[in-house]
C-alpha cells in the first residue's frame, strides 16, 4: 500500500471560525496504480495532497505514504516521491534546463550514471534535446511542463503526484505528456496520483477515480463504472453543408438540438462515435464534426445531485 489514509481531515481557522477544508478522506492506493483525484475547485484536493506530501499537518486522522508519516518524515518522503504542480515551478528559472536537472539530481543524491540514464530516457521520450540548454524562464509552458515532469522523475520516485499537470497546455502538448505518463505508469514501478479538470487526462491515464467534494470522498470507483453510472452522454456536433431537419432516429442518439437554422446539430449519444458519424453521413452531407466530452464538472455535478 503506497498511500493509506484514515479519516484524514484538515480545518482552517478563518476569523475564529473553523472551516473544514478536508473533512474525512479515507484512501487506499496500491503500488503501481494510477488514480485520478477529482473534484470541483475548493473540494479539498490540494489540501489533501499537501497532507499526503508532508507540507501540511492534518487536524484529524492519519496518513501513511510510502510507509512513512508525511509530516514527521518529510525529508525522507521527499526522496521517494515526485510532485509536479501545474502552476508552480520546481526548476530554477534562470538556469538552463539541463543545469536545473543536474541540481535536482544532486539534491536527491542520484548517482551520476543513474541520472544520465534516466535523463536520456526522458529527453528522448519527451523530445527535449532542442531546449536543454535554454534557461527555464525562456521555455514555453509546454516545454517547461516536460521539464517539470522530468525533474520529478529523476530520483526514481515510487509515487508521482501531479496537480493539474496539463493546465494551460495546448492539445499537442497535453497529448505528449499523457502518452509519456502512461508509459511511465505502465512499467509498474511508479504510482500516479493525478488531479485535473481535464477528463481526457483521466481517461488516458487512470483506471480508478476518486471524487471528493466538500472535503469528503463522494465516489471511489473504476472510471468505466463511474461513467456508466453518472457521466452525461457525449455530444456529436455535426456541421452540415446544407440546412437539414433534425437528425432524429440515428442509432444511439438520445437527444437532438438544432442550431443555425439546421446547419449545426448537436446529437447527444451513447455508444460509438465512429458508427454514428458514418450513419449520419449517409443521411446528410457533413462539413465537419467534433465530439464534446462530458466535463469533470458535469460528472461531479451529476454525482453531487444524485
Amino acid at each position: 500500500m503506497i498511500i493509506q489514509t484514515r479519516g484524514l481531515g484538515r480545518d482552517f481557522v478563518v476569523r475564529r471560525t473553523r472551516i473544514p477544508a478536508v473533512a474525512d478522506v479515507g484512501l487506499d492506493v496500491e503500488r503501481g496504480e494510477a488514480v485520478g483525484f477529482l473534484g470541483p475547485n475548493g473540494a479539498g484536493k490540494s489540501t489533501t495532497i499537501k497532507m499526503l506530501t508532508g507540507v501540511l499537518v492534518p487536524t484529524a486522522g492519519t496518513a501513511r505514504v510510502c510507509g512513512l508519516d508525511p509530516v514527521r518524515e518529510r525529508k525522507a518522503l521527499a526522496r521517494r516521491i515526485g510532485v509536479v504542480f501545474g502552476q508552480r515551478s520546481q526548476l530554477w528559472w534562470d538556469l538552463p534546463l539541463a543545469e536545473s536537472f543536474a541540481l535536482h539530481g544532486a539534491i536527491h543524491r542520484v548517482p551520476a550514471a543513474r541520472h544520465r540514464e534516466r535523463l536520456d530516457e526522458c529527453v528522448e521520450l519527451l523530445d527535449m534535446a532542442a531546449f536543454l540548454s535554454t534557461p527555464v524562464r525562456q521555455l514555453s509552458l509546454g516545454q517547461r511542463m516536460r521539464g517539470e515532469v522530468t525533474a520529478a522523475l529523476l530520483h526514481s520516485p515510487e509515487l508521482l503526484v501531479l496537480d493539474e499537470p496539463t493546465i494551460g497546455l495546448d492539445l499537442a502538448s497535453k497529448e505528449r505528456l499523457r502518452t509519456f505518463l502512461a508509459a511511465v505508469n505502465a512499467r509498474g514501478d511508479v504510482t500516479l496520483l493525478l488531479t485535473t479538470h481535464d477528463l481526457p487526462d483521466v481517461e488516458r491515464l487512470c483506471r480508478r477515480v476518486v471524487v471528493i467534494d466538500k472535503g469528503r470522498v463522494l465516489v471511489d470507483d473504476d472510471l468505466a463504472t463511474l461513467r456508466r453510472r453518472f457521466a452525461g452522454n457525449r455530444t456529436l456536433v455535426v456541421d452540415l453543408v446544407e440546412p437539414a431537419g433534425p437528425l432524429h432516429g440515428l442509432h444511439g442518439v438520445v437527444d437532438v438540438a438544432v442550431e443555425a437554422q439546421g446547419m449545426r446539430q448537436r446529437l447527444e449519444f451513447t455508444g460509438s462515435a465512429a458508427g454514428l458519424i458514418a450513419e449520419a453521413a449517409r443521411r446528410v452531407e457533413i462539413r465537419d464534426v467534433t465530439v464534446d466530452e462530458p466535463s469533470i464538472e458535469d460528472l461531479v455535478r451529476t454525482l453531487y445531485a444524485s
Partner: protein, 265 residues
Amino acid sequence: MADRVLLRIVASRIRSQLAYRTSFALHVVAQLIGQGIELVAILVVFTQVTSLGGFDRDEVVLMYALAATAFGLADLSVGQVEELPTYIRTGELDVLLLRPLGTLVQILSADIALKRVGKVVTGLAVLAYAYATSGIDWTPLRVLVAATAPLCGAVIFGAVWVAANTVSFWVVDGREVANSVTYGSNFATSYPITVYGPWLRRVLCFAVPGAFVAYFPALALLGRPDPLGFPLWLQYAPPLVAALAVGGAALVWRAGVRRYQGTGS
C-alpha cells in the same frame, strides 16, 4: 554530502549572475555608493561637532566600518531571507518543503545576490582604513577581535534578520516589519549606543543584540572602558552572543515553519 549540494547550488547561482556582466557591474557600483553615503553622513556630522556620544570621529568611523562590513557579509549570505513573504504568498514554499533539504537553507541559496558584494567592499575598505588610523594599540587579543568582529557581527545580523522575517509566517506580508529591523539594524549599529536613550540602548544590548556588532568590539579594540559602565567582558562577548542569536533564530524559524504547516493550530 548536503554541503556539496549547497556548493553546487551556490556555484550555479553565481554563474547565472555573472552572465549579465553590465547589470552586475552597475549593481555593485550602486551598492558601493549607497553604503558610502552613510559614511559621508557621519563625516558631515563631524564637521559640526567634535564628538558623538563621547566618541571622536575616527572612533565612530571604526564603529561604522565594523557595522558596514558585518552588514555587507550578512546581506550577501542571508539577505535572501527577505524573500520569505513572496515564498509564502505564492505557495513557492510548498515546493521547498517537497525537497529533502532544509527550507531556510534553500531560501538563502535560491539567489546569492552577488551585487551585494559592493557593500562588503565598501565596508572592508573603510575598515582597513579605520584599523590603520584609529590608533589601536595592537595586542594578539585585539588582532583576534579585529578579525572575528565582522564575522560575529554578520552572524548576529543574519540571525536577527531570519528571526525578524519569520513574522511573515504569522502576519500577511510582514515584509515591512522585517525590513525595518533589517535596515534599521544597519543604521542603529553604525553609531555608538551612547547616542541613544536608555530604553533603546537596552534593546540594542539585550533584545536585538546590535551593540555586539560594532560598539563593544570597537571598545575592545580602542581599549576604552564602557562609558555606560557595562562590564568589560561584554566587549569580548560577540562570539557567544552570535551563537545564542543563531540558536534563537533557529528556534523561531522552526516555530514559523511549523505554523505554516499548521501544527497545533
